[in-house]
């Protein structure tokens, strides 16, 4: 049913529709409203689940890990410093092949301290072995949260659903929240083969000697690679049931014959799309939205970029001393094309800086001046730099 909901409220309702049996989380801005709303759903008797209040994000992730290992569908959510604090557990969750779903309400990392949105937190755990999905709007946040459980449980891999803090979590907008019957039909009751059971004892998380460690890592890597097909299959099934094409590895919009493309992740998609459609005096362009960052959709990306002469990658994170994180991976993936597009890489919107409609024209102008050929910050204000840096 269509409703006007705050993003966090919508995400909480989507999680509730998936009938988690254990929710464990520690509050942090801008994730807080998600867990508050879940807590209310439990208090109101809408959601029958064990809500575990913990003293840190490390414990939140640990409780969620244990809950799934014991055979329960579980959920957690965090942001920023909270993601970092749980990072040790995140690697354990994926290495143990625990099908958990969590929301990352994307926020910058300190220092300097910022409560506002960028994607540095989820990028910092890029190599944690989780599936990472990025949402463009709150409809995608709802749909991809529900799809995430299906994907996680099919692949026995954890899924991190990344939603831009404030820009999505604190935005009220009109969206379609599916009904319980539809979600129940889409998402079977939780079943985990390797669950801890006193009647059938197994060991989990034991020491692995050098004789087997490489094989365990190979197995994990293969599982992530193979999840790409499951993500696409889940997208199709969801589309069949709801009519909505939300999910999958990536989305392509705009001019199919364009020679210029722009690639983004997350909530700047809509702003870019509107700006591109409105700019009639520039050459036609296409917009590629990366929905899955892990697994990295190398083939889908090559298909989307073949024929492009220039590709502008805009991202809300930075690898200091190297440049863009997404941009580097995109360059590497496209290098095997016969005629790869020239990749221009910019950061935008770090630490909550607004990404206005002019971002598109600014990017085109910068590229014309050959900026971003390595890596540049598109919205840098040189006047605000300390004088000694000039």
């Amino acid at each position: 049913m269509k409703q006007a909901l705050e993003g966090s409220q919508a995400i909480a309702r989507a999680v509730s529709l998936c009938r988690p049996q254990v929710v464990s989380a520690y509050p942090i801005t801008p994730q807080t409203h998600i867990v508050e709303n879940l807590s209310r759903l439990v208090a109101d008797g809408v959601l029958d689940c064990e809500l575990v209040s913990v003293e840190s994000e490390f414990s939140a992730a640990s409780v969620a890990l244990g809950a799934v290992a014991a055979g329960s569908r579980a959920y957690t959510a965090s942001s920023s410093q909270g993601i970092l604090l749980m990072s040790e557990v995140l690697f354990n969750i994926s290495g143990l092949r625990i099908p958990l779903v969590m929301t990352c309400a994307n926020r910058a990392l300190a220092a300097p301290l910022s409560i506002w949105n960028d994607q540095q937190d989820s990028m910092a755990v890029r190599d944690a072995g989780w599936i990472q999905l990025y949402c463009a709007d709150n409809q995608e946040a709802v749909d991809m949260t529900i799809q995430a459980y299906r994907i996680a449980e099919r692949c026995e891999l954890p899924v991190m659903v990344c939603v831009d803090g404030f820009t999505l979590t604190h935005t009220l907008e009109v969206l379609d929240l599916p009904d319980q019957q539809l979600v129940d039909a889409f998402l079977p009751a939780f079943h985990f083969d390797r669950k801890l059971d006193p009647a059938n004892p197994i060991s989990v998380g034991t020491l692995v000697s050098p004789e087997f460690f490489t094989e365990a890592r190979y197995d994990h890597h293969q599982a992530l690679l193979q999840s790409a097909e499951i993500i696409e299959q889940t997208r199709r099934e969801w589309q069949d049931m709801t009519g909505r094409d939300t999910g999958g590895l990536l989305g392509v919009a705009g001019d199919a014959d364009a020679r210029v493309g722009v690639l983004v992740l997350g909530s700047i998609t809509g702003t870019l799309q509107e700006a591109m459609e409105a700019s009639t005096d520039t050459e036609p362009a296409c917009l590629i939205t990366l929905r899955a960052f892990r697994p990295f959709p190398e083939q889908a990306l090559r298909d989307a970029c073949s024929g492009l002469e220039r590709l502008i990658v805009l991202e809300r994170a930075l690898s200091p001393g190297a440049g863009g994180i997404v941009g580097s991976e995109v360059r590497a993936a496209l290098s095997s094309l016969d005629r790869p597009p020239r990749v221009f890489n910019f950061s935008v919107g770090l630490g909550g800086r607004d990404v206005p409609l002019e971002t598109w024209s600014r990017a085109l102008a910068a590229v014309a001046g050959n900026a971003g050929a390595g890596f540049d910050m598109l919205d840098l204000e040189p006047s605000r730099l300390p004088q000694e840096a000039l």
Binding site: K2, Q3, A4, E6, I115, D137, F166, T167, H170, T171, L172, E173, V174, S267, I268, G270, T271, Q273, E274, A275, D354, V355, P356, L357
Partner: protein, 191 residues
């Protein structure tokens, strides 16, 4: 699409006002988008919230830089740098104040509509929360959305005595401004 910026102070219900206005648009069969621009979240600190209303799905998520309307919940904010920035030519400023709009407008060199929303809310709600009275006056001035859609939006958020008191408040507030005075400004931008 109509873009609106709401300025107030922490504790005045700025975000709730923005959410209510976007929900009112939804209740009228349109699309609404609302989000806050949080600074450090504390009572008394200046807070800004943004609202978009459109007949089509709203895709842009940037801040509202050039609003058609400003709703100012605390008169003193008129003198804070940046509050009036970007207001479209012919756009409207609605201010919570017990002084006449002409007097306030004279001080800032712009046309201003004033509504004594705080004393009104104090009398009817028992608390000087100006947000719902201002929304009602805004809808009456612009005729952008029907008042009963605002009542439905309120019913989704409040119940019982609070809802009843707010319903009385918005009815009275809507009658205190010249109905349709900003109708032209709200249609020029084509919601």
């Amino acid at each position: 699409m109509i873009e609106i910026r709401i300025h107030g102070r922490g504790g005045q219900g700025n975000v709730v006002a923005a959410y209510l206005l976007a929900t009112t648009a939804f209740e009228d069969g349109r699309y609404g988008q609302a989000f806050p621009n949080f600074g450090a979240e504390r009572r008394g600190a200046p807070v800004t919230a943004f609202v978009r209303i459109s007949g089509q799905p709203i895709r842009r998520r940037c801040q509202v830089i050039e609003p058609a309307f400003l709703i100012i919940q605390d008169e003193a904010l008129l003198h804070v740098e940046g509050v009036l920035d970007g207001l479209q030519p012919g756009g409207g400023i609605l201010v919570n104040s017990s002084r006449p709009g002409e007097e306030i407008g004279g001080l800032i060199g712009r046309e201003v509509m004033a509504l004594p929303a705080s004393p009104l809310a104090s009398r009817i709600l028992g608390r000087p929360v100006p947000n719902t009275a201002l929304l009602a006056a805004f809808l009456a001035l612009t005729e952008l959305l029907p008042i009963d859609a605002l009542v439905r939006a309120l019913a989704g958020r409040f119940r019982g005595k609070v809802l009843d008191a707010n319903s009385r408040l918005i009815e009275e507030a809507a009658g205190m401004v010249p109905v349709g005075q900003w109708k032209e400004a709200s249609s020029e931008t084509g919601a």
